[in-house]
Amino acid sequence: MSQKTHTTKPPQTLEEFMAQALVMEHEAAQRYNDLADAMEMHNNRDVAQMFRTMAGYEAKHAQQIMEEMNWVDVPGVPTGAWPAMEPPESVPHDEVHYLMHPWHALQLALAAEERAREFFDQLALVATTESVRKAALELRDEEAEHVALVQAWIAKTPKPDAQWANDPDPPRYVD
């Protein structure tokens, strides 16, 4: 399921577009919180904290949209609103590991921000109304800023060695 092209029908109004942007941020925040919970349960506190921080950022972006649009509830978006199965900014559940390091978490965050940037970029290309196109370009630029911020964060974060996934007491013994 490729994320690369915008194959869905673009939103027709600014409200529809902002609803889509809001759901994307909202679901990204929920996913980061789910991942943080999972890491806490496995005592991987550094990564849990990293995911929790990311969740906070995404929730803040969602709140900004809510305030900008004067919305009280998160609106729904139509089925098939996304080019892939999930909104582009959500980190897939299956891309985490119980021994992962903050560096890995940042790589996932980077990929999510890049997908979001690409999504808005593609949407601006296919938008049929000027207000949607303009808003898509603005959000694309915001996501590009986030990409740069995460890249800078990665540069300051130690990269784990090649043995990071080695567990002296592994859960599986069936290999």
Binding site: A38, M41, E86, H93, D94, H97, Y98, M100, P171, V174
Partner: protein, 280 residues
């Protein structure tokens, strides 16, 4: 003045408990839990009108992670417990959840007869083709050539085909979903809950610990290009000829659920009669 009669719309968060899942990070069951809570929000029944019943296994821990009534029962017997609950309390929405080992092996016989009885339940099976909780034994849906230390060279036994069995046994709603598609799965679960009778939803839910190769499923899964049918023969052909990665509702039938008479219409009399029979 505020209108106090306006109901507050339910969200997925209303159906999540404060208990955090202990599944392995990366497990597909996290997504299924998210789908279940989203589906319940779509259906719009409050948590106290919903019961989640399960058996034993990783996925069977799910009742604890919801704010609904829950029953974490014995291995393979979730459908038996849920059937009793639904017949006694038809006002409740009853979800049954578990894994492939619990549902198709230990509970295999209950599965057949639950489909046949067609009680208004929604049965969600998180299928990862392995017994994860007991560390990776082959399950009924494991491929015959899956090679590991516990079954060297594979079991050589043909895999169970849950959708075919469900359809042939009389399930009134048959669907396949994928954990990596939580929103699509939520919609399918909501459809299953709303559809009368026994709804069976097989969810491909990767086990990243014992079957890490299942991470590849997301590259093969695709949405069904056709609408659900109420023609069982047509549905059977579809199921038997697809590649196993087609997701969507395959069959939505018209069978009348059991019991045909709504028990709650005379439940007070029934309870009174039952109590009378047991009086010493």
């Amino acid at each position: 003045m505020n209108d106090m009669t306006q109901p507050v719309p339910l969200t997925a968060g209303n159906f999540k408990s404060a208990t955090k899942p202990i599944w392995c990070p990366g497990c597909g069951d996290f997504s299924v839990l998210s789908s279940v809570t989203k589906a319940l929000a779509l259906v719009g029944k409050p948590p106290h009108q919903v019961a989640v019943v399960s058996g034993i296994g990783c996925s069977s821990r799910i009742p604890a992670y919801t704010s609904c009534y829950g029953f974490h029962g014995v291995h393979g017997r979730s459908l038996a417990a849920a059937t009793g609950l639904k017949v006694a309390r038809p006002d409740l929405t009853v979800l049954v959840a578990g894994g492939d080992g619990d549902g198709y092996s230990i509970g295999g016989n209950h599965f057949l007869h639950a489909c046949r009885r067609n009680v208004d339940l929604t049965y969600i099976v998180m299928d990862n083709h392995v017994y994860g909780m007991t560390k990776g034994q082959a399950s009924p849906t494991t491929e015959p050539d899956w090679d590991n230390k516990l079954s060297p060279g594979g079991t050589g036994v043909r895999s169970f085909h849950p959708l075919v069995i469900a359809l042939a046994s009389g399930a009134n709603f048959v669907a396949r979903a994928f954990a990596g598609d939580p929103n699509g799965t939520a919609e399918i679960i909501a459809q299953g809950i709303r559809h009368p009778g026994f709804s069976f939803i097989e969810i491909m839910s990767p086990c990243v610990t014992f079957r890490p190769e299942q991470r590849e499923w997301k590259n093969h899964v695709h949405r069904a290009a056709v609408e659900a049918t109420d023609d069982a023969a047509r549905a059977a052909r579809r199921i038997m000829t697809d590649d196993g990665f087609n997701i969507g509702v395959v069959y939505a039938g018209n069978r009348t659920p059991y019991p045909a008479v709504k028990r709650n219409e005379h439940s007070a009399d029934a309870v009174h009669q039952l109590e009378k029979e047991f009086q010493l």
